[in-house]
């Protein structure tokens, strides 16, 4: 057991999966010789060989499409798309093939693949390197979309994703890659998918988020405590399918909901969370739902990216507003 970062936890889970299951292969740009631009695959090619840890040509459509073929033949491909801004060419393969191969063939062929990609802003990266488009992917039937928010959850959820018999998009918050260290036991234990994590119990307001924004959300919860407001913090972790029952149970208890995400507001996944409560938890709502999100603007280059991202301040204000509502 050791204190490791989130990116080290990803590396640990990949190594574990490659060790335990000969059908696991890792592929992507720079994942081999280079060990990944974030070092997520560091050392893996040396240990498991270039046939199983594959440096692909620079072609995202290819990478995602290869996975479909490999998976149909019983391999468990785990591909890396270097940044979420380059994931779009994969959507064709995800929608038209990966997510529906099982349905199309009535289970004759399946697609146990994992598509890993860094997500999110806040590291002063160049243009197109800081996107958060989880909502686009979470809309795709037949797919799973998972976003870890800590090293331990990254380790356990990635193992679960790799072992899952269906395609999973696994989005790793770059801002958290090295920001926090946590004890992670490399025991090969997977965490449950499709299950939210209640990171903090509370009674006055429910704060729902995922990925990097969990940090600001927890800090906002601290601020709220100083104001004698007890906030419950839920990490959705799996966006598709999301843990609607956990969400509704919490809102039933608190009567107030603040959803936080980095992605643009319109059509962001926060809309789905708010909609769910408006449909099935409306009568427990004591105040309007609050969405604290990125703006409906193009994500600015680094000089303004922090102004774009939800701040602890904005989250706290929204929660205070919800609690003050009468």
């Amino acid at each position: 057991m050791a204190e490791i970062t989130l990116v080290e936890a990803v590396n640990l889970a990949l190594a574990r999966a490659l060790t335990d299951d000969a059908s696991v292969v890792v592929l992507g740009e720079d994942v081999g010789i280079g060990g990944g631009v974030f070092r997520a695959t560091a050392g893996l090619q040396k240990r498991f060989g270039p046939d199983r840890v594959i440096d692909t040509p620079l072609a995202e459509t290819l990478i995602s499409g290869l996975c479909v073929g490999m998976a149909a033949q019983g391999l468990r491909p785990v591909c890396e798309i270097q940044f979420m801004g380059f994931i779009y060419p994969c959507i064709d393969q995800l929608v038209n093939h990966a997510s529906r191969l099982r349905t199309r063939t009535r289970g004759r062929l399946t697609c146990p693949m994992v598509l890993r990609s860094p997500t999110g802003a806040g590291i002063h990266a160049p243009e197109h390197h800081s996107e958060s488009n989880e909502a686009m992917l979470a809309h795709i039937p037949g797919l799973r979309v998972v976003v870890p928010s800590s090293p331990a959850r990254a380790y356990g959820l990635l193992l679960a994703a790799i072992r899952d018999p269906d395609p999973v998009v696994f989005l790793e918050p770059t801002r958290l890659y090295r920001a926090i260290k946590e004890d992670v036991i490399d025991d090969g234990e997977a965490l449950a998918l499709d299950t939210a994590f209640t990171l903090r119990d509370g009674t006055d307001v429910t704060l729902v988020s995922w990925g990097a924004m969990i940090r600001e959300t927890l800090l906002a919860a601290d601020r709220l405590t100083e104001n004698n407001i007890s906030a419950e913090v839920i990490d959705l972790a799996t966006l598709k399918p999301y843990d609607e029952e956990a969400l509704l149970a919490s809102v039933k208890k608190t009567g107030r909901l603040v959803v936080v995400h980095e992605a643009a507001r319109t059509g962001g996944f926060g809309a789905e969370i708010a909609a769910s409560v408006a449909e099935r938890g409306l009568m427990s709502l004591l105040a309007p739902v609050e969405r604290v999100t990125g703006f409906d603007t193009v994500l600015p280059l680094p000089q303004l990216e922090l102004a774009y991202m939800p701040s602890v301040e904005r989250i706290t204000k929204a929660a205070l507003r919800a609690c003050a509502y009468a």
């Binding site: 490999m70 149909a72 004759r108």
Partner: protein, 367 residues
């Protein structure tokens, strides 16, 4: 010292050279143009290929009849392109894996997919893609070219598992304009993967003629960008297609890597039952190409080799029609799926989150 500008100045070293050849054995007249390849066998060995092509044409005819009478969805016949589908499929080994398009029902039929499965798919029922055999062939690919990376991925798995199997990816001329097809070919050649790309160059992508698809003199030369061999074959010559694919399969199986085969033919029919080709091409053009179609020329050859006669022909036609009718009957007799089955096979196990929706569907109510 100064000289005139010289883009292609012969004084500069040639660093690479390439050739594209065209293969043909059987002329439209039924005459032989070149010594037949071993894969052709004796004349009588060609009879199964002939039967396969004729059966395909009967199935296509029946499918159109079903569509016209509202009992089948949109359907794409392979009229005039039978030699490519039968030639390629017949060269494959059972445990190879085929990547078909909507045009390639004939290749699936040869591979063992049943007539009713084909009708079931085109009838709008996913069960048609649950092939009884071959279990590992990919379902028909509709998004043009998007299956090429799958073929490369499957071929990579074969290589990794040290299996001497080959992936065969069928493509149209239009598909050669897709970037994903190029990406797949480039990767396959890079890793010398066991995959064979066969392009059915029927001259049209719906209403778009080949001359508007690319400025390249041949489609076979698309292979050069990927760093693999490419060749043209007469796609109306089943002997040539079969020989070309057979050799490509053997090379791929032997670890020599992929190749691209451009089979030259012509789409004698409409693009699909939803299309009316007279809108964009002349009957004369079509009539002219009927002279080159693959079935008649093989029949002529078989007859001249006196391994085929009028009686054989009549019984074959009757037999094919019977098969088509029986297949259609079995398809039409199928019990329809219940709506809720759309939730089956969505995931290996339906997540709890979607149970409510399944229930709503069953109860016809969102409550």
């Amino acid at each position: 010292m100064l000289a005139k500008d010289a883009a292609s100045d012969a004084s500069f070293a040639i660093v690479a050279e390439f050739q594209i050849r065209r293969r043909a054995y059987l002329a439209a007249s039924g005459e032989i143009l070149a010594p037949l390849p071993l894969s052709a066998g004796a004349a009588k060995d060609l009879i199964p290929l002939y039967r396969g092509m004729v059966l395909l044409r009967s199935i296509d005819t029946k499918a159109v009849a079903l569509q016209r009478t509202g009992r089948l969805g949109t359907y794409a016949v392979a009229l005039g392109q039978e030699a490519i589908l039968i030639g390629a499929a017949s060269a494959m080994r059972e445990d190879d894996v085929l990547f078909p398009t909507y045009r390639d029902n004939g290749a699936l039929l040869w591979r063992g997919v049943t007539i009713e499965e084909i009708f079931t798919y085109w009838g709008g029922d996913e069960r048609g893609s649950d092939f009884s055999v071959p279990r590992q062939d990919f379902p028909i690919c509709i998004p043009v070219g998007s299956h090429a990376p799958h073929a490369a991925g499957v071929a990579y798995a074969f290589k990794l598992k040290r299996q001497d199997r080959v992936a065969v990816c069928l493509l149209g001329d239009g598909a050669t304009s897709k970037g994903d097809v190029y990406e797949a070919m480039n990767f396959a050649a890079l890793h010398k993967l066991p995959v064979v790309f066969v392009v059915n160059n029927n001259g049209w992508a719906i209403s778009v003629p080949l001359r508007l698809q690319t400025g390249a003199a041949t489609l076979a030369q698309k292979a050069i960008a990927a760093g693999m061999p490419g060749e043209q074959v007469d796609g109306n010559d089943v002997i040539a297609v079969r020989a070309s694919v057979a050799e490509a399969l053997a090379a791929a199986r032997a670890g020599k890597g992929p190749c691209l085969i451009e089979a030259l033919t012509y789409r004698l029919g409409d693009h699909t039952t939803a299309d009316d080709a007279r809108r964009y091409r002349s009957d004369d053009e079509v009539k002219a190409h009927w002279q080159a179609e693959p079935i008649a020329r093989l029949r002529k050859y078989l007859i001249t080799q006196s391994v085929w006669n009028k009686a054989d022909e009549e019984s074959l036609v009757a037999d094919c029609q019977r098969q088509a009718e029986e297949g259609a009957a079995r398809y039409l007799a199928m019990t329809p799926r219940v709506p809720a089955s759309m939730f089956d096979h969505l995931y290996s196990e339906l997540p709890d989150a979607f149970e409510r929706q399944r229930k709503q569907l069953v109860e016809g109510d969102d409550g």
